[in-house]
């Protein structure tokens, strides 16, 4: 019990931490955007699409949601090269994270779309709007508003989950921890600092999402 904490060495390596932090941020933001796009397209396909498309989306969603992210990542980074498809670690990370978040987003958005009452669609139809117009002007806004909290917390979970890419040696925030650790031998302190950094990021993202909600939805009435 004579261990004395020494954080100085850890903080001395702040440049590494910053580099890692930046990649983690990039991974998170890009994945959130691509996940949202996949989610919108996929959920629309799953709710309004033809049967075969629904089936494809369902297979995708179930396959991803019922297997671990780290295995998906390994499959893409280690597995695909043997089929002749090669990525560097960062690209593999972007792909795996987007595919993963996309599946969750589809499920969340689908619930939102299905919560919009049929009468709303019928009202749009009777005004002569096309299917796409109804989706754009009548459905998507209230649906997004409805599932916004679920989507936002899924996004924060995704940000935390990006730490997994350290396991294929992508140089994210979590990976810098192992670099600093090997230089300073301050195992415990390193992970405390890194955990603190994630906590801060999570807080920032939550605040940002709350602000974004105000910005997007506050002026609109229920």
């Amino acid at each position: 019990m004579t261990y004395s904490f020494q954080f100085r060495d850890v903080f001395a390596a702040w440049e590494f931490l910053l580099d890692g932090l930046i990649l983690t941020l990039e991974l998170s933001v890009v994945t959130m955007l691509s996940g949202l796009v996949i989610g919108l397209a996929g959920s629309a396909a799953k709710v309004y699409g033809p049967g075969w498309l629904k089936a494809i989306v369902a297979v995708y969603v179930e396959a991803i949601r019922n297997t671990p992210l780290i295995v998906q990542l390994f499959l893409i980074f280690f597995g695909l090269p043997s089929a002749g498809i090669k990525f560097n670690a960062e690209t593999a990370a972007y792909i795996a994270l987007s595919i993963n978040l996309g599946a969750y987003s589809i499920e969340i958005l689908r619930a939102g779309l299905q919560a919009i009452p049929r009468s709303q669609i019928e009202a749009g139809q009777s005004l002569g709007l096309s299917g796409l117009q109804i989706f754009r002007y009548v459905i998507i806004f209230p649906a997004l508003r409805l599932i916004y909290p679920a989507l936002a917390s899924q996004f924060v979970l995704l940000m935390l989950a990006t730490s997994v890419v350290s396991q294929i040696s992508a140089q994210d925030l979590f990976h810098t921890a192992s670099i600093i650790q090997s230089r300073t031998f301050r195992d415990f302190e390193v992970y405390i600092v890194v955990a603190g950094a994630y906590l801060l990021l999570a807080l920032i993202f939550r605040l940002m999402f709350a602000g974004l909600y105000q910005l997007i939805f506050s002026r609109a009435r229920r």
């Binding site: 179930e62 671990p68 295995v71 390994f74 280690f78 997994v164 195992d187 955990a195 906590l199 807080l203």
Partner: protein, 216 residues
């Protein structure tokens, strides 16, 4: 030595699933105890206890599970406890699962209308008796589908224990890859095995959810 990826390897992977399941069970047990405590803290009538519960949930849900695994793996050794991956994983997963289960169960407790508490109080029942006889029995029904759903998350997340050398399905996959150099076949097999564990639970959770809505 490089070998072929054979059916024997698949059997080894299947055998490794028992550690995935064992870790899930431990995590669920530990997380269940922590989660129940957290849920009760968060519905407490004493505000500082509620804050304590909220602080815990925010801290755990704001940090990666991976960080908890490393902190326990490296952290416990410096306070003089000999850590096996088992202990580190059990501790990290209990903390992690406790926060999520706590939030799920708090939601279920709070979904029971306040008037039910009032009706109990008006009959002279105390806080504990109201919880035990009135609130918890009703909340349990609501809690089962999301709890089963979380079990799927838990099974999937036990894969992260591989990073501290805990030998379960994913770690076994890594080891098999190292000897066979057939990562694609190995990880596809691993993914399929996870799917076979998780998908039935996912479906079950959905069915429970639906029957709950019908019953209402």
């Amino acid at each position: 030595m490089i070998r072929e990826f054979t059916f024997t390897d698949v059997l080894y992977l299947i055998a490794a699933m028992r550690w995935t399941l064992a870790l899930t069970a431990i995590a669920f047990l530990g997380g269940g105890i922590v989660g129940l405590t957290v849920a009760l803290l968060r519905v407490s009538t004493f505000a500082p206890l509620r804050w304590l519960g909220a602080l815990y949930v925010h801290a755990v849900q704001g940090t990666p599970l991976l960080a908890w695994l490393f902190v326990f793996f490296f952290g416990l050794s410096i306070v003089g406890i000999e850590v096996s991956p088992w202990i580190a994983a059990a501790a990290a997963y209990s903390i992690y699962a406790g926060a999520f289960l706590g939030e799920i169960w708090r939601g279920c407790l709070q979904a029971i209308p306040r008037t039910q508490w009032e009706a109990g109080a008006s009959l002279g029942l105390g806080f504990a008796a109201q919880l035990r006889y009135i609130i918890v029995p009703q909340a349990t029904r609501l809690a089962i589908p999301p709890t089963v759903g979380f079990l799927v998350q838990l099974i999937k997340n036990t894969s992260l224990a591989a990073v501290i050398g805990f030998i379960e399905l994913t770690r076994e996959g890594q080891l098999t890859t190292a000897t066979t150099f057939r990562p694609f076949s190995v990880y596809i097999t691993v993914a399929v095995l996870y799917f076979l564990l998780c998908f039935p639970l996912t479906q079950w959770s959905r069915r429970l959810e639906r029957s709950l809505h019908v019953a209402r």
